[in-house]
Structures are given as C-alpha cells and as structure tokens.
C-alpha cells in the first residue's frame, strides 16, 4: 500500500468507523475475507480528490447513506428469456437454495472457492482497491459458479434492493470453450450503497458476454469492480449501463494472461442533476497478439458529471497487440462536466493502439431536420440521444438489452 494512502484520522470518516464498529463479527465462509477488508478500511483513508484515481469523484454522498443490510425488492422485469436461468440475489441468503441448476452450470466447492476467491482481483491489480475492500468487509456470501467445458449457459442475476447496503460478490469459472451470457441487474429502489465485485476466469477458448444494467437514484451509490482473467483464444465482453446513481464508480478490468485473447469493453453512463458517474477501466496484455475493442459513452445533462479513465497496458511481451479505445460523450447542458482520459502505457514496439475521445452536443442540423418533419423538439432530442446510446445498448446480451429501454434509462437519470 502506498504511503500516500496512510490515513490521517479525520479522513477515515466517522461514518465508516461507525459502520465498521456495529458490523456483526465476521462469520461464515467469507469470515477471513471480511476480517481483511475491515482491517484495510480501518487503516486506509477514504479516497478523496488527493488520490489521482479519484481526482474528480467526490465520495461525500457515502456518509449520508443508510448502511444496514438492505432487504430484497422486486424489480419490474419481463419474464426470463427462453432458455435463460434467472436468479434473484441480494447478497444475503444463498440464491441457489431450492433451485436445480441448468445443465452446464455448477456450484463451486468450498475448496475451489478458497482457492479461486481473490485470484482474479490480484491478477487484475485491484484486490486492495477501496471499493473492493468495502465489498470484502460487507459481503456475507459469494455466489460461486462454474460453466463446464463446451456448455452454453444463459444466466440472469437480478439484485433489486430496498433501503440500505447491498453487497454482492460473484466468482465465475468458465472452463475451456464454455460460453456464458450473463445479464445482471443491480437496482436501488431506495437510498443505499450497492457494492459489487465480480471475478471471472476464462479458460482457453471460453466466451463471456457480461451485461450489467445498474439503475439507481440520487440518494444511492454504486461501487462495482468487474475483473476478468483471460487465457488465450478466449473472448470476453464486459458491458455496463449505469443511470440514476447519485454516485457510481465502475472499474471493469481485464487481464489477458498470455495475450492472444479478445476483450471487448462497452460502457454507457447517463448523468443528470448533481449525479456523478465514473468509469476507470484497465486492460493489461501479458502476452502477444491480444485484442481490445473498447467504446465508452456518456450522456451528461443538468449539472451531472461524467468521468472516464481508460488504462491500457502493453508491456514488452505483448507484441502485435491490437487495441482500440474510443470515448464519446454527449454534453446536453453547459453546466454538465465531462472528464475523459486515455492512459496508454505502451512498451512493446510492434503494436496497434488507437484511441480517441470526442465530446459533442446535439447537432442543430440533425434536430432541425427531425423537427422539419413534424417531430417535436423534445422527441427529436430523445431520438438523437437514443441513437447515441444504441451503439452500446445493442451489444448487450439479450436479457440485459430488454431491461434497459432508453425511456427507462432517461426516466431513472432525471
């Protein structure tokens, strides 16, 4: 841990001390992890503007949030897609109880959990990140599953919560050539803090499409870390859609352990009012011939604030890497703020790394063209916004796609 993180007493935050003090003693399968997380939170400062990675992201909302464990709530969702397996999961009780798992999906044993838990977080370099330690401190269970070799599974995880703290921890192992479509909903229906940590290990030739739809509200915060470790020839797509959170921090992280894999990252964040959404992504190629295709989009209205930081690390071993990163932001108000920054660290010489960032507002000529055909100004703006978002939405796994109509996203955002 770097010296700069040593905590002056004040920066630790009375709210955090208070919360830690009243937590029940660590227990259950995650007891050692809980101990560790609580210890870490006691010893480190809450991230603030003084930390480079948190420069634009003010965490003061957290101190106002209710942190008692949240009760599950019901999400208004269409019926599961045909052939998909849907689990309601609030981090507390075992979501698999009473379910027969579909073919190709298995529960990990206690031994496998002990061995696998934290492995990918460490590989992706985020096991000590503050949001991860927060999850460590709070999560009582881990949902740990394997997709067996050559099976194809379509899984839906639905986590809607009432007031309070929802801490979700997910561990997935995809065996060789296993395929998983994972649609995940995290929804705050009242004030609270939602913590999500996902670890996925993809064996050779495995394919993952993960779509996170996270719908919040102004007095709710989301801290999400999604870490994946990819063996060669695997294909992973991480997509996240966030709207409505007073504060959302997402850290999608992918490591290609030997290169030669394909990583696709998609992000869409909508901010309005005083809300903040911050995505810090990280991709590392530890071997040659890896590919990255990344598109991050933001729509900022009101006094909303959107932050994107895209780190890509291409060390000497990663020759012939082909990486493309694009950040596109739509600025709908002159009081909204967008901070976007690529962070390419390229040591290998024979690589293609393209990156670009654009910030634009709605085009007058496009609006006028639509209006000149009788479409009202608001509806025209809506069509253009949807067109902007569609590029990310269309790549979501089917179920996740069906959960986030633009109408819903905008309704939540405002």
């Amino acid at each position: 841990m770097s010296a700069s993180l040593a905590a002056p007493a004040a920066a630790k935050g009375a709210w955090l001390e208070g919360w830690l003090a009243q937590l029940p003693a660590a227990c259950g399968e995650l007891a050692p992890v809980q101990e560790r997380g609580r210890q870490a939170l006691r010893q480190t400062a809450i991230p603030s503007a003084r930390h480079e990675d948190w420069r634009f992201t003010d965490l003061s909302l957290l101190q106002t949030l209710p942190l008692a464990p949240a009760a599950a709530a019901t999400a208004a969702l269409p019926a599961p897609e045909a052939g998909a397996f849907r689990l309601h999961w609030n981090g507390g009780s075992d979501p698999l109880a009473g379910h027969a798992l579909p073919a190709g999906l298995q529960r990990l044993s206690a031994g496998e959990i002990a061995q696998g838990l934290g492995h990918t977080l460490a590989a992706a370099g985020c096991q000590q990140h503050w949001p991860v330690e927060l999850n460590h401190a709070a999560a009582e269970h881990v949902l740990a599953l394997r997709v067996t070799s050559r099976s194809q599974v379509s899984l839906e995880l639905v986590s809607a919560a009432a007031e309070g703290l929802q801490a979700l921890r997910l561990l997935l192992l995809l065996e060789e050539k296993a395929e998983l479509d994972l649609s995940q909903l995290v929804e705050a229906q009242a004030a609270g803090l939602h913590s999500l940590v996902v670890e996925v290990h993809l064996a050779r030739g495995a394919r993952l499409s993960h779509g996170l739809v996270a719908l919040g509200q102004a007095d709710a915060a989301l801290m999400a870390n999604m870490a994946i470790e990819q063996e060669p020839e695997s294909n992973a797509q991480l997509s996240s859609i966030t709207s409505g959170w007073g504060l959302a921090r997402l850290e999608p992280r992918a490591v290609q352990v030997d290169g030669a894999a394909h990583t696709t990252l998609r992000g869409l964040q909508l901010v309005d009012g005083q809300r903040i959404a911050d995505t810090h992504s990280f991709v590392e190629f530890k071997g040659p011939e890896g590919q990255l295709d990344q598109l991050h989009k933001a729509v900022a209205a009101g006094q909303g604030r959107s932050v994107f930081n895209g780190a890509v690390r291409v060390p000497r071993a990663a020759q012939r890497t082909n990486a493309a990163q694009l950040s596109r932001s739509l600025l709908l108000s002159d009081r909204a703020r967008i901070d976007t920054k690529p962070e390419l660290e390229i040591v290998a010489d024979d690589v293609k790394c393209a990156h670009g960032a654009t910030v634009s507002s709605l085009q007058t000529d496009e609006l006028f063209y639509l209006q000149s055909r009788g479409i009202g100004a608001d509806q025209a703006a809506g069509l253009l916004q949807r067109a902007f978002c569609e590029e990310v939405l269309r790549d979501l796994p089917a179920a996740a796609r069906s959960w986030c109509s633009l109408e819903r996203l905008l309704e939540v955002a405002a």
Binding site: Q371, S372, R373, G374, I375, A387
Partner: protein
C-alpha cells in the same frame, strides 16, 4: 394550374432575414395559390435556400422584417415542427444524415405527427408498413432503405428520393423542394419528377428551387421567379426559364445595377 379564384396558401410580403450579422433576404414578395407550381431560379448564393429555410423555421436565420402568412395564419411565429404538421414541407438541398435513427421509425413518427394534426388516427407499425410500401412506389425506392439509418450512407440521388418519399407520406399543402433535381441521374430525375407530378393536385402547391430547365421540362411550372441578391427580381411564365437557359444571368446584374442607381 392557375386559377385566380383559388385560395391563397402562402403569402410572403417584403421578407427580410439575416444569418448572424449578414442580411440575406432583402424584401421577398411571393403569393402562392392552391393548384400552382412555382419555380425559383437564380445564381448561386442569391438566397434561394435561405428563403426555404426561413419558411421552414431554421433557427440559424433571423427574420428582420416582413411577414409570411400560411392559410391566413402567421407562419413565422410557429415552431418548425408545427409548420410541418400543418402542411409546410421542405425538401432539403442537403438532406441530413442521422446515424442510429432508423429511417422507418423516423418516417413513422413524422407521418403520425402530421396525421395527428389532421385529426387522423395514429398508424401502428403494421399499418404504417403498408402505407410506406405503397408510397415507396411513388419514387420507385427499394424497401431496403427503410432499414437503414436516416440518410446515412445514402448516395446523393438516394437522399433526394428519400425526401420525396417523406413528401409522399406527409402530404403537405405547400412543398418547397430545394434542388431536388441535383445529384439525380437521368432515370432518377424522371422518376422523382413523376412523383412530384403525381403528388401535385388542385389543393396543394409546389415551390421548386432549381438551376436547370431539364427539371422544368418534366414538371411544368405556372410561374418562374428569378431571385437575385435576396429578392425576387423578375417573375414570368415557363418561357422565362427558357430565356434564362439561353441568356444566363448577366442581364440580372444590369437590372440590379439599374435598381441600385434608382435608389441612389
């Protein structure tokens, strides 16, 4: 078709407009009655597109004087969308590409906006598909264009056909077609002109902005106007276009100079 007793659809009186600080329209007068076809010609930069955009309500142009009355109503105080809904249509010289917005949905939403204004029921996706398939025939357009984004990657000629398809769906009372003939090949010109003729009737009117006689060979205008330096300098019948084709615009400069001398 000229009928002196036909109702006036559009009455433009001494219209002045500027863009930023530049005065462009400097006193346009024009009266359009039901059943008429008007052609506006004139040099590049004379203000033809500006006139069309001012009529459609483009926010970049500011009206600084004069009036425009559409069927007795002050057109200039209406939003662009309201002008379209009550039957004013602008076929763009440069149709705008809108990536990500489906052409089919765009056409449906706009058609329904116009229908609602006329008190007609909204068409659901199925009913609209039927209607659009029928109207595609007016411009002999491939239905595949419906599945693409609005004008995105359309060739110049395809964009112009898409404009006339929109006109066929919206059934305007006053259609202003700004250089709809530019970018069309010979066959497409014939098809598009045929479409415009098919849509013209005794109750509506068309204002064609064009540089070339070949469009007016296919669509016979009742009036031809020559625009210069932001106003209509001369009005005549279809023979005026033929005269322009032969004489060019040099005489326009002389008339403008004479006008300027008069004022001085």
């Amino acid at each position: 078709m000229i009928r002196p007793d036909a109702p006036v659809l559009l009455e433009i009186r001494d219209l002045h407009a500027r863009v930023e600080d530049k005065a462009i329209l400097k006193g346009v007068n024009l009266t359009i009655r039901a059943g008429e076809i008007h052609a506006v010609m004139g040099r590049n930069g004379s203000g033809k597109s500006t006139l069309s955009k001012v009529l459609a309500g483009h926010p970049a142009y500011t009206v600084t004087g004069g009036s425009v009355t559409y069927r007795g109503e002050n057109l200039l105080e209406l939003d662009p969308e309201q002008r379209a809904r009550i039957g004013v249509f602008l076929g763009f010289q440069y149709p705008v590409e809108i990536p990500g917005v489906s052409n089919l949905e765009f056409l449906r939403v706009s058609t329904n906006a116009r229908r609602a204004e006329k008190g007609e029921e909204e068409l659901d996706t199925f009913a609209f598909e039927d209607l659009v398939r029928e109207r595609l025939k007016v411009v002999q357009m491939d239905p595949a264009f419906l599945d693409r984004s609005v004008n995105e990657g359309f060739s110049g000629g395809e964009k112009k056909r898409n404009e006339i398809l929109q006109m066929a769906l919206l059934e305007p009372l006053v259609a202003i077609l700004d250089e709809t003939d530019s970018g069309l090949d010979i066959d497409a010109l014939r098809i598009v002109a045929g479409g415009v003729n098919q849509l013209a009737n005794a109750d509506n009117a068309t204002l064609l902005i064009t540089h070339y006689q070949r469009l007016l060979d296919a669509i016979t205008p009742d009036y031809v106007h020559v625009m210069a330096a932001g106003r209509i300098l001369r009005t005549g019948g279809k023979e005026l276009a033929l005269e322009l084709e032969q004489r060019g615009y040099d005489w326009v400069d002389q008339e403008l100079a004479a006008l300027a001398a008069e004022v001085a």
